[in-house]
Symmetry: C3
Subunit: 371 residues, 3 copies
């Protein structure tokens, strides 16, 4: 039925050595050279419905406040008071009352980050409110996705996304609304999660349920791009979507053509968004590396508002299918992390079904050097 | 009602950089240069009522036995057997039966630390009981407070205390007896705990209950001293003490004059005792740094014995008030520790209400250098 | 009754300094120079009854599969797939279905370690199944004990065992079968466990129950050997074995003479087997160092099959006696680990009842140098 028609891999296309996955110093380098420089998926605009709405994102030692300001624009700031460094917000999501006030000494910032009140600082020589704004983090959006960037002067998000906005326009992601969210904590390096996502060679053995709905040899990948890796797989005949039984109680998204309704799109938008588009729903995985061997993953299922509004709407056959599949993937990723720690580990050769993994390795080594 | 009449702070009075709070090596330097050289508050003499009474104190990797000897003197020793290093005592408090015996091979020490028995060591050439006493730690007392000092030849405790014995004589601390104790474990650097204690600029926002009883702008601080930092705050009109309702079911301590009955005294006796005197009771916080980001705090409430003997004596309105206030302080200190870890943290300017914090920073940097 | 007739210890026979027990780097050196080079006790052949039977052993970051192959020989391999490093087996024991298959991408190995299937690797230039066998670990047996060796070309196990096979032949260990197993996790260095096992000077105080059955001054040690340390102690008059009441519901092992039935044999076969032979049963402790301050110990009680087959066979008076004794030993070993961390710790002199400990120290320093 399917044959392996992808090009041959050159000799020497091996995985990375162990230290790329196990050395705390290399992890720190990755944060500095990759995560603190590139656009990072942070969440969805719908979680910031009105002025003062905010959510936090946590990456390594960093905590960032992403909020909607009075003019309905988005802002992001380090969650660090300019007085004595106290974290300003503690809860993952919430609504701020027109300002950001430090719980310690009541230093108060407007939504544009300006320090507007600092009690009893008038007797400190040289102190000026204007010198102490919150430290900003760049923020931008794409079709309802919120991205942040720690760099001082980042290139536009549109450059980072390249042709993806055009490619994924038919799914109308800006209209979709979240129906479910699960947060996973995995004892594996963030790259192992992306690698796991970037090949389906493991599907027959690890995901028998998935394999019944979508053949692991179906579909093709795009050539690797500087900022994303991805491709498509086909649904089997008679299968409407990835769900517990392959049926879809939900209508296809309105903008999709016949061909797009027969495939599942798997894209890794580097370095932290796994975008997984189904004919009827969007699944996103947002990766927050916490240590060389620990990654937090926020997994969200979003549907068309017409479906959410339908009486009896129930996302559970999509959520349950993927929660099962995710747990299979996280477990084997943890087994890989454990095995890579061994003194016997030697980087193995990739198959030509793993060409995206080799591209990810080259991306990382290109940014960070070899470990 | 109150105005900020303290002197202006010079330009550049900034907090310390992050590594002073986050680097394990700097923490180790602090132990070596400060805690292992200065007098440390260890507890109260009343916990050592008779020969053989002992308690343990734990600081970093160290465990110390503080005990009352046969002559009713106090002794302190490292909790380390001279044979193979085994910890001699395991329980935090207890009564020793006339000697200290290692649970492993029964090496036995008298209360003056002399090794008096070491079974079957007679066939080891050159072994002498006299060569293997417990390693002593200096110990002394002040008005019922027990202090220890790890230094080989420490200056007298009286030098360390300077004018404090005179200043606090009216409270008659030597007569007071403990009515309650709570041990807290806080994920924050020990200096953040002292800093939190050394200013009330945070009180209006963080401690609304406290603010109702004692105005945060009331009172004044002493000029910073080499071994202590502190000052006084006033009780509001009609408020008898710091308690859940501001009333006092307990009589004022007998030695106090009218003025002393209207104030609360907050002193940080460096590096590990926070002495907090109320008209009717004494509150102490003993700080045991365990890591750069973890501190154990033993909090004790002590009252006059006449009150303790009174039928229906109940310390709970003082204990509950402070337990609430403490938890507010510990939480915000942990938020400060988290924020200071951020790459965005920059030391901020102090207000002139935080002059004691700047003095603490100078004390630490004077002993340990900059991180 | 007993006198201390062992030879005098020379002056200067001191314990090792703290870093030998507390430095992670020294622990790593020990693994490299000792555990990864010497024969390690791994388990019992009876746990590998038929082709495909396997168990895992875990040491530091390593996981090893020990299995019985199709020809009933034993094999051991690193539990690391040659593709992307994934751990092949997850469960501690089990039965493999004729092959070892990686759960990730189905790379499949025969029981001799040959890679026999690697799906879709045909388009990778230069890939050959023959180049990717599982990495072997040497394995051998002695009287039912399975040993493994990480070294590339180890000396024979028989060299390592020296005269022990002859010495312990009467116990017929190859016939014994396991009746109970307890796994302990101890917060102490592996050497402290062996040291604890190698002297009974601590018995009167720590093990009053044991002391009632076997006098701590009874018996003698062999002179220290390059690969083992050990000796014998006597059972008291009227005591049949080490059990809760000193009685034995079990017959003596058939090969033992009168003298052997009156003693308990304590041997440390370096670096990880404590072999403890009783007249009626065998007790083994297999030590798996996990960190400088953590050791996992697998403790097994084995009896003669005639006893196991007897109606009402009950090993509990042996198991319970030793479980109590073990817990006493583990607790004091943890107290030693804690005390050795102290800045006050100075290596103490050994008694001449601790000559095997000094021999262990010399063995370690001979392999690894001083810390």
């Amino acid at each position: 039925m399917y044959t392996n028609t992808r090009p041959e891999l050159e000799s020497g296309t091996r995985a990375l050595s162990a230290r790329h996955y196990t050395a705390p110093e290399y992890f720190q380098t990755e944060l500095e050279k990759i995560h603190y420089r590139m656009w990072l998926h942070a969440g969805r605009v719908e979680h910031l419905p009105k002025p003062g709405s905010y959510f936090l994102v946590e990456l390594g030692t960093e905590s960032i406040i992403v909020l909607r300001d009075e003019d309905l624009g988005l802002r992001a700031f380090y969650n660090v008071c300019r007085h004595r460094g106290t974290r300003l917000c503690q809860h993952g999501r919430g609504l701020l009352p027109g300002k950001i006030q430090c719980p310690y000494h009541a230093w108060t910032y407007s939504f544009d980050g300006t320090l507007i009140s600092a009690p009893l600082m008038d007797k400190t020589c040289g102190f000026s409110l204007l010198d102490h704004p919150l430290q900003p983090v760049a923020v931008d959006t794409w079709d309802g996705h919120v991205f942040i960037n720690f760099a001082a002067d980042p290139a536009p998000l549109s450059e980072h996304l390249a042709d993806l906005p055009q490619k994924f326009k038919p799914w109308g992601m800006e209209h979709l609304q979240q129906a479910a969210e699960i947060v996973y904590s995995i004892n594996a390096n963030w790259k192992l999660i992306i690698q796991n996502y970037s090949e389906c060679l493991h599907c027959p053995l690890l995901h028998p349920q998935l394999q019944q709905l979508s053949h692991y040899m179906s579909g093709e990948n795009d050539p690797p791009q500087p900022t994303y890796l991805g491709g498509r797989m086909d649904l089997r005949e008679g299968i409407a979507t990835l769900s517990q039984d392959g049926a879809s109680p939900w209508a296809a998204l309105p903008g999709l053509g016949r061909n797009e309704q027969r495939g599942i799109y798997y894209y890794a938008i580097l370095p932290n968004l796994l975008l997984n588009l189904h004919p009827q729903y969007m699944l996103t995985f947002t990766l927050w590396p916490q240590a060389c061997d620990r990654t937090e993953i926020v997994c969200r299922w979003s549907f068309h508002p017409d479906e959410l509004a339908r009486e009896g709407f129930d996302p559970s056959s999509a959520v349950d299918f993927w929660d099962l599949t995710n747990r299979q993937d996280w477990e084997v990723s943890e087994l890989a992390q454990q095995g890579i720690r061994s003194r016997a580990y030697r980087p193995g050769l990739y198959s030509n079904r793993e060409e995206l993994l080799f591209a990810l390795d080259q991306f990382v080594v290109g940014k960070c050097g070899s470990a």
